[in-house]
């Protein structure tokens, strides 16, 4: 199969094009903009038979997206960072409508201070919205995950919107070889969207998003969202098998890298997992028995798969590319929670915070993670949260503070 060189953003746009979406409401934001630019060109020249419309904000954009999906159209949209947060209440609202659209989020750290490079505080803030979340490591995985996302979202057992996440800059603007699935294959994988439970029409009026009085009715509907989200684990598995059969590429809810005989395991997500894999190789070359577990699906939380991958390990380090001030790493908490009932749980759990605002994680920092994690496993005592920050970075920061007049040199 031929591969084309393309950025993560273009791969995302191709995902929407191959899914033959009907409607693309858009709003620009760095580093996502290239996605909607590509789609506007394709909608304009007819290579994608969809309506493209620019809205006045991400809040309006997500509302239009949800409303169009509620009317029966297959909808794609994309945003990033501040845009995702600007649309925040709408995420919850349209998840409650049970509309199966796909939203690509190109991760970018949140203000303030305002910046452009990635971390995952944006996407993880939305983890309780009812959207499913798939986090991609490569440009290939972006396009493949979007196709899988539509199939999962539209499954009658799920009927929930899906967010596909990729890292700004590191993936959005990085060209990688991508082998685009054949449109005929996509047709076989993803049947046309013909929902029976959605659609406004004259002959069958219905009401969506009505008010409820009383907690019992509210609890019922919110719990339905939870159950549907949990169903997505099974539906993802089925989609994964079918995708592999048609395309030859396999994606599971978590991905293990050199886990077989690993004593210690490093947990990561998204594009920086590639750096992590490189660090695992380097550590292995030095004789350390380490491996990496990449979390691909964050919602629903693949607790069983994580438990299975981690049981019997000596120590586990979670490298969170996010920071919940006053708490620490977000994914560390979730990993720790799902290991509580595991009889063979690791002797130590370590929490590292790195890559905030796109900060590089150096080989030295990875080495330090492996060393400290091994030590924690031997001592049976977890550590963290520890912020990854090198001496050189600290010296540069002090220089900036001197320039800013905040410190006397």
């Amino acid at each position: 199969m031929n591969a084309d060189m393309m950025t993560g953003n273009l791969a995302a746009a191709w995902g929407a094009r191959l899914a033959d979406v009907d409607y693309v409401p858009a709003f620009p934001i760095t580093p996502q903009t290239e996605i909607v630019e590509a789609l506007s060109v394709w909608c304009g020249n007819g290579s994608l038979n969809a309506r493209f419309v620019t809205l006045d904000s991400e809040h309006s954009m997500m509302t239009a997206a949800g409303a169009a999906a509620a009317t029966g159209a297959r909808v794609f949209t994309a945003t990033s960072s501040q845009g995702l947060l600007h649309a925040f209440e709408v995420l919850y609202t349209i998840a409650g409508w049970r509309v199966p659209l796909v939203l690509v989020n190109v991760s970018r750290a949140l203000a303030s201070p305002i910046t452009l490079e990635p971390d995952h505080n944006d996407v993880l803030a939305a983890r309780d919205s009812g959207f499913l979340q798939i986090h991609a490591e490569t440009c290939q995985e972006v396009v493949d995950s979007i196709l899988m996302a539509y199939r999962i979202a539209e499954d009658p057992r799920v009927c929930l919107p899906v967010m596909v996440n990729l890292d700004g800059f590191y993936l959005s603007f990085t060209r990688e070889p991508v082998s685009l699935p054949d449109p005929k294959m996509v047709q076989a994988f993803l049947p046309p969207f013909r929902p029976t439970h959605l659609g406004f029409k004259a002959s069958a009026p219905h009401a969506l998003g009505t008010a409820v009085f009383g907690g019992a009715t509210y609890s019922y509907f919110r719990h339905q969202i939870h159950l549907a989200s949990m169903n997505a684990l099974q539906v993802h598995e089925e989609a994964s098998v079918e995708f592999e059969r048609l395309c030859g590429r396999r994606y599971d809810v978590v991905e293990g890298y050199r886990l077989d005989d690993a004593e210690d395991v490093l947990i990561m997500t998204n594009a920086f997992a590639s750096k992590g894999k490189g660090a695992v190789d380097a550590a292995r070359a030095e004789g350390r028995r380490v491996g990496l577990l990449r979390l691909r699906m964050i919602r629903p939380w693949p607790a069983d798969a994580i438990r299975q991958a981690l049981q019997g390990r000596r120590a586990v380090a979670v490298l969170d590319q996010n920071l919940s001030p006053g708490q620490g790493g977000i994914l560390f908490q979730e990993v720790a929670a799902c290991l509580y009932h595991e009889a063979l749980r690791p002797r130590a759990l370590c929490s590292f915070i790195g890559g905030l605002g796109g900060k590089n994680i150096s080989e030295g920092e990875f080495r330090a993670i492996f060393e400290q994690t091994a030590e924690a496993g031997i001592n049976g005592q977890g550590i963290g949260p520890i912020l990854l920050y090198t001496e050189a970075e600290h010296r540069e920061m002090v220089q900036l503070q001197v320039l800013a007049g905040g410190l006397k040199s």
Partner: protein, 310 residues
């Protein structure tokens, strides 16, 4: 030039069939609901109401709605964007042959003044700029009503709300002037804008009939006399709505492609007659009469009609 009604000349021409059925959770005497009931007689049942958070959100409370048409609750700040999504999707599905033309619906935004004048202004501006084919029905009760009457940009000078109370510092209560949303809409050049009042049913029905001939944004500002918030007996809604118009405070008008016509020229009773009916203006009359504030309100109305030049 006198404005002539063409479709609705006599009260008997108003269809008897109801499209907003009774038994909702809204307050007795709601002027906004009466205006909607009348509007729906022209809009019919092939409608999807796209609602913004506000009093009317209580219309559709699971498992009931008073409509024979459809309903979509969105958010407080983005109902026009919801209308955009529904309209676009209907167009796309019809164009692709997945929905027959007979299934098409009118898309009608229902928003209060808090949403319309404040939070959804960006979303509305976008929808008008994109020439979205939809109706916008604003029920304007001149305050954030569903939360218990707080100041909104639609609150007029001199009204007391729970966040602009009559105080030593501000004896008149509200000190701002009501935002002119009609002119904000008009600056966007939509094909049709009108103000309506529930006590003037023929005027209201005629305007909805006229609007139906236009493709694009059709905007209605409905005076929603509000017994709960304006503090008068629910039975007096018709009288309050009538005096709002007869004093000249609520001009009945339309703008077709930007050209304004006043559809009813009141003889203009003193504003006092309208103000005195409502508890929200009571502090202007007792314990001490605030002549200056009352004169101010009268002067604003006089200025408006002087500029109208009829």
């Amino acid at each position: 030039m006198t404005w002539q009604r063409e479709t609705f000349k006599k009260i008997k021409q108003i269809p008897r069939e109801e499209h907003v059925l009774p038994g909702t959770a809204l307050c007795a005497g709601c002027g906004g609901l009466e205006a909607l009931r009348l509007a729906a007689k022209v809009l019919g049942d092939d409608v999807v109401y796209v609602n913004a958070a506000g009093c009317f959100t209580m219309l559709a409370a699971y498992p009931f709605t008073p409509f024979k048409g459809s309903w979509l609750y969105t958010t407080m700040g983005s109902a026009p964007a919801g209308a955009q999504g529904v309209r676009d999707a209907l167009d796309v599905l019809i164009a692709k042959g997945r929905l027959s033309k007979e299934e098409d619906l009118k898309v009608v935004v229902l928003g209060g003044d808090g949403s319309t004048y404040d939070m959804a202004l960006s979303s509305t501006s976008g929808a008008i700029t994109r020439k979205l084919d939809f109706y916008y029905f604003c029920y304007d009760n001149e305050a954030y009503g569903n939360t218990g009457m707080q100041l909104s940009p639609a609150t007029p000078y001199g009204a007391r709300t729970t966040t602009s109370p009559c105080s030593l510092q501000h004896p008149s209560g509200t000190t701002q002037e009501k935002k002119d949303i009609f002119e904000i809409w008009r600056a966007h050049k939509p094909p049709y804008i009108a103000t309506v009042a529930p006590r003037y049913p023929l005027d209201l029905e005629e305007k909805f009939a006229r609007a139906s001939k236009f493709t694009g944004p059709k905007l209605f500002l409905a005076l929603s006399a509000c017994p709960t918030g304006w503090l008068y007996d629910p039975g007096e809604t018709p009288e309050v709505a009538k005096l709002a118009v007869e004093t000249g405070l609520w001009p009945l008008k339309e703008a077709i492609n930007g050209v304004i016509t006043h559809t009813y020229i009141p003889k203009r009773k003193p504003v006092e007659e309208y103000l005195k009916l409502q508890g929200r203006f009571r502090h202007l009359f007792e314990p001490t009469r605030q002549d200056e504030a009352i004169r101010h309100i009268q002067a604003r109305v006089d200025d408006y009609w002087k500029q109208v030049n009829v």
